[in-house]
């Protein structure tokens, strides 16, 4: 494994001492050149997991190993500096992820400038190379982020992260805020770059069908817990956990005939608040198949079929 989180925990403490279980005991590894898709609804902790993994949040428990070495629990600027050319991240919001006061050149060159003191000319050449590699042109160097569309900004974010040539790229919902036709562009670009650079990707999203398109393995999170993990095609077409089944079945397909035969959604209610959770199955309250046991004991993630891990008492 290139990077491996074991029993990773991230709690936030609210006023009054209440704890938000954002990420609660998640173990997940990513091999070299592998793409892992991490899906879940809002509030599932998938973004927090990604950010805790790379040190943007302090870890509350568990550990992360990168090439076997334990990463610090609390990051300092020096830790980030050391890690910069190994691990990078791209963000969901294409508007908030670029400093509005900096030109595109300054934004993309940031990583180079922070790492080593290249000459301006060589920095410029590299920036232009990456700008063109993500489908923009050198004409855009002196423009400001607000002049670009969402898809164009996301490309700039990708160039900024990849110019330092990392091995692992965490993609935090990179396509959620984009239009359909642009989503495909960005996914395709990421796929190309992953292949040509031999990147490992952690691809976080809530759209399962897009994740299916890019990932080798798929992980599903619910309320801070990892509930299913397995090869993408297997999880997508033969989901084992009741929540994964409902999640996949809830997505409307672009096919009117199929949609006319759709049954009414089985899943009731909404994702509960992740504050002060009790030790029980996180999904028990909404699960149509829940048994008494699900309400008193928290299931562990275990292998139920070869290479397929599920956290459910019913299997």
């Amino acid at each position: 494994m290139l990077i491996e989180a074991t029993h990773l925990q991230k709690f936030f403490t609210l006023n009054g001492g209440r704890r938000v279980h954002a990420v609660d005991d998640v173990s997940l590894g990513i091999a070299e050149h592998e793409v892992v898709g991490l899906v879940g609804e809002s509030g599932s902790g998938k973004t927090t997991f990604g950010k805790t993994l790379i040190g943007l949040y302090d870890k509350s428990g568990g550990e992360v190993r990168y090439r076997g070495e334990v990463l610090p629990a609390r990051y300092t600027a020096a830790d980030f500096r050391q890690q910069a050319s190994e691990i990078q991240i791209i963000f969901q919001d294409p508007y908030g992820s670029l400093n509005p006061r900096m030109t595109i050149f300054e934004i993309i060159a940031e990583g180079l400038r922070l790492r080593d003191h290249c000459s301006l000319a060589s920095t410029r050449d590299k920036v232009v190379y990456w700008l063109e590699r993500v489908g923009l042109s050198a004409d855009h160097l002196s423009r400001y982020p607000h002049e670009f569309s969402g898809g164009q900004r996301q490309r700039v974010g990708i160039a900024r992260a990849l110019i330092v040539e990392p091995k692992l790229l965490v993609c935090d919902e990179p396509i959620s805020a984009l239009d359909v036709s642009v989503q495909a562009q960005v996914v395709q670009l990421l796929g190309e770059l992953q292949e040509s650079m031999g990147l490992s990707l952690l691809f976080i999203a809530h759209d399962l069908s897009m994740v299916r398109h890019v990932s080798d393995r798929m992980a599903v999170m619910y309320l801070g817990s990892l509930i299913e993990l397995g090869p993408t095609e297997a999880v997508y077409f033969r989901p084992l956990h009741p929540y994964t089944q409902l999640l996949i079945a809830s997505k409307p397909e672009p096919d009117p005939a199929h949609e006319r035969q759709r049954q009414d959604p089985l899943i009731k209610g909404e994702i509960p608040s992740p504050i002060d959770l009790k030790p029980r199955c996180r999904f028990a309250g909404r699960c149509p198949k829940a048994e008494p046991r699900c309400f008193v004991e928290r299931p562990v993630l275990r292998e139920v079929q070869p290479a397929r891990l599920v956290a459910c008492h019913l299997l």
Partner: protein, 474 residues
């Protein structure tokens, strides 16, 4: 499958040739941006320029700065120069000319022979036979002399601004001669260039004569030779020199109000700009530290802010004055500055802390952290540039606040006191003569209002311009 054009399009159909349906040459797939490029501040400037109110306020602010900084080079009258001949004059653009006359006090007067009372005739005292002026009657002095009256022990001199109708209507008693042989009087009391009716009446020591002699005398504007020398004018006697006009009038000591307002603007704008610069900077540093480091330090620092906000400003102002050993009626710019700076920074600190907390969570700051950015780099490259907008707005609103505070303190006598002038102390002086010569209050008050209004409208416009920049993300 065949397709039929709809009704609409068949009517509109244009002549086409087969060539039109040939595949078009492939155009390079380039991401293009057609809108003109604008940086953040260019965009803010464009928006500000569209706001007429804000733009005219900006012009007013610039004009005020020019008035304060360049004005004294153009308007060279000394603000402290008193001209007791021109007290509380109304605003006027026309300059007047004056004659140069010799200094007062050089006239020996007229001595006459003592003419004892003729005991026999038992007559009452009569009026003097003549009343005349020696030399030129001017606003510097009027030198009267008269013929002796039999039996007069001394003479009383009156002045009126209209022809007296009776002995009861002689006007202002100027004085009396001390000896019977003094037959002259030099009047130097607040003379204006106008006609006066002087009356001389004899007295036998017990009662005044029943008859008086009155002469109408028209005065000319004049300055003395030594005054002329002082002001660098021609000091040859009898020369006509031009006196400067007073566009804003003069105050109760005859000082030029325009020059005083210009001088006062320096103090007002100094306080109004230096104090906000200092306390906004203090607030930025304090709020920046609290916001950037967060946690318990943030909580502690914000409680200090709450404490400072609760301190009463006026009380501390007084304490600072006492601490600096400045008594009542003395000028104290430094304690005023200190009080303003030490008690006004918390608002800015709160604002900046909020901004920093918000921006610290932005994805571009996180991206820079992951790229290995040092905290100082984050602060100066990402956090500060993105708070500049709100800082600028705060500063623009802090300036009129400080100017108004200075004016208020000087007005109640806690700030700048005479002879140093500021708009507040000028207003303070002006209020005493508000009923007789309102211009002395109106001009400084107008400048205070104009400045406060202009800065406030400018701040409003600036805030709108910055806000809409944030809103238009499409």
């Amino acid at each position: 499958m065949s397709l039929v054009p709809s009704e609409l399009s068949s009517k509109l159909s244009i002549a086409v040739s087969a060539a039109d349906f040939a595949p078009a040459p492939h155009q390079a797939q380039r991401e293009r941006i057609v809108r003109p490029s604008l940086s953040y501040w260019q965009d803010v400037w464009q928006r500000l320029c569209k706001n007429r109110r804000a733009l005219s306020s900006l012009y007013i602010v610039i004009a005020l700065l020019v008035f304060t900084l360049v004005g004294p080079w153009l308007w060279t009258q000394a603000p402290a120069l008193q001209d007791l001949d021109a007290i509380s004059q109304g605003p006027s653009w026309s300059s007047s000319s004056a004659l140069v006359v010799e200094d007062p006090g050089t006239w020996p007067g007229v001595q006459g022979a003592l003419r004892p009372r003729e005991e026999a005739d038992g007559q009452t005292l009569g009026a003097t036979a003549s009343l005349a002026v020696a030399g030129l009657p001017s606003t510097q002095y009027v030198r009267l002399y008269w013929e002796a009256v039999n039996g007069a022990q001394h003479y009383l001199i009156y002045r009126n601004d209209h022809a007296p109708e009776s002995n009861q209507d002689l006007g202002l008693p100027l004085g009396a001669t001390l000896t019977p042989d003094t037959l002259s009087f030099e009047d130097r009391l607040q003379l204006r260039p106008q006609t006066y009716w002087y009356s001389v009446i004899a007295s036998d020591g017990f009662e005044e004569a029943a008859l008086s002699t009155t002469a109408a005398i028209t005065l000319q504007r004049a300055i003395t030779a030594s005054q002329a020398r002082e002001r660098g004018l021609d000091d040859t006697l009898g020369a006509a020199v031009a006196l400067p006009a007073h566009p804003f009038g003069t105050d109760y000591l005859g000082r030029d109000l325009l020059a005083r307002v210009m001088e006062g603007a320096r103090v007002s704008l100094f306080i109004g700009i230096v104090a906000p610069l200092l306390f906004v900077s203090l607030g930025i540093i304090y709020g920046g530290i609290a916001g950037y480091f967060g946690g318990n330090l943030d909580i502690l620092m914000m409680r200090v802010v709450d404490f400072v906000i609760a301190l009463p400003f006026l009380l501390f102002m007084i304490l600072f004055r006492i601490g600096f050993g400045i008594g009542p009626g003395e000028s104290g710019i430094i304690p005023m500055l200190l009080a303003l700076v030490l008690l006004s920074w918390p608002d800015t600190a709160r604002l900046i802390r909020g901004q920093i907390l918000q921006i610290r969570g932005e994805a571009y700051v996180q991206a820079a952290r992951v790229l290995g950015a040092h905290p100082l780099y984050l602060i100066f490259r990402h956090l500060v540039p993105n708070t500049l907008g709100p800082i600028l707005v705060t500063l623009t609103f802090a300036i009129p606040m400080a100017i108004f505070t200075e004016a208020f303190l000087s007005f109640i006598g806690m700030g700048v006191s005479p002879p140093t002038s500021s708009w507040g102390s000028l207003s303070n002086e002006g209020i005493r003569t508000m009923l007789s010569s309102p211009h002395e209050l109106l001009f400084p008050a107008f400048f205070i209002s104009l400045t406060v209004l202009a800065f406030n409208l400018l701040g409003d416009g600036l805030r709108d311009a910055l806000d809409s920049r944030l809103r238009s993300r499409e």
